[in-house]
Amino acid sequence: MSLHFELVTPAKLVRSEDVHMVEVPGTEGAFGVLEGHAPFMSTIADGEMRIYKTAGAAPEVITVSGGFAEVGDAGLTVLAEHVGE
């Protein structure tokens, strides 16, 4: 059970991998995305995104700013203008 997750910036495709859960800083509050999430789209606030490779693992933190997240059949796609690790 895994969620396909992609992080894309204008310059390149930063991540494309299968993960357990991703926590995204949405403009109206952070939300976590697991596999099988309903189709959803939200703009994101500047903040930290947490990627959980497996359940219970320590999250990997990536700061993102300016962009939006889209959850569809293909998984979660985050389009961010600036990404810092």
Binding site: V8, P10, E28, A38, M41, T43, F68, E81
Partner: protein, 290 residues
Amino acid sequence: MASLKELKGRINSVKSTQKITKAKQMVAAAKLRKAQAAAEAARPYAERLSGVMASLASKVGKDDNAPKLLSGTGSDQRHLLVVANSDKGLAGAFNSNIVKAALVKAKALLAEGKEVEFYLIGRKGRPVIRRTYPDKIGVNFDTTSVREPGFNEAEQIADELVGMYEDGRFDVAHLFFSQFKSALAQIPTEQQIIPVKAPEGAVESDAVVEYEPGEEEILEALLPRYLKTQIFKALLENNASEQGASMTAMDNATRNAGDLIGKLTIQYNRTRQAAITTELIEIIAGAEAL
């Protein structure tokens, strides 16, 4: 008839020119590979963004209260021509082709009685446009301080354009840049960037997508980003085109210089031989006279 010394000087000067063109050609070839890779890397973002744009615009775009960036100001009287050029020459007809396309468009618009203003990116287009339309150059975006225009520049340009648009300084913006086909072919292209033309081909899905905050808010946030991406893409294409054009032009120049050196060398050798023959004739004639 040029003297031996003169010929030698000319051969040497052509040789040093050839060295320069050859070096520039190799630099351009290396940079072209990099520019192509950059253009390649930017594709996923642009594709996903236009996918989202298409599906959102098809839902919201028909409404009367659609964002101004999408629906336009309702008039098309004042046009802004955004011309993207490079800062360096030695790229064949690369810059002049873009400028030519922009000037043709400007002429057509003026003939229709519209107002035209230029927004220049890069240094090379300015002198030519200033000669034709000295009073129509509005802004000149300076890219000389950075090595290659990147997303930061695209962001600044887009922000400035949106600001000007919201101030009501123009109704329609066209972007002129060179599309990269191959190292041999670069196509000067005109693209309308404001009002934003929504990409076609929205994927219809039955799934009910939930939007946060709302469809319209997202679209509003999306439009400037889409504009940035368009400009960024144009800058990347332009960069690849510039390197391609430069490579081709410098390859030709190197070959021409080689031909010229060959011709001059033949002439040099003939002249030298003629001088030796004359000397010999003089000696033999002198000896016979004794």
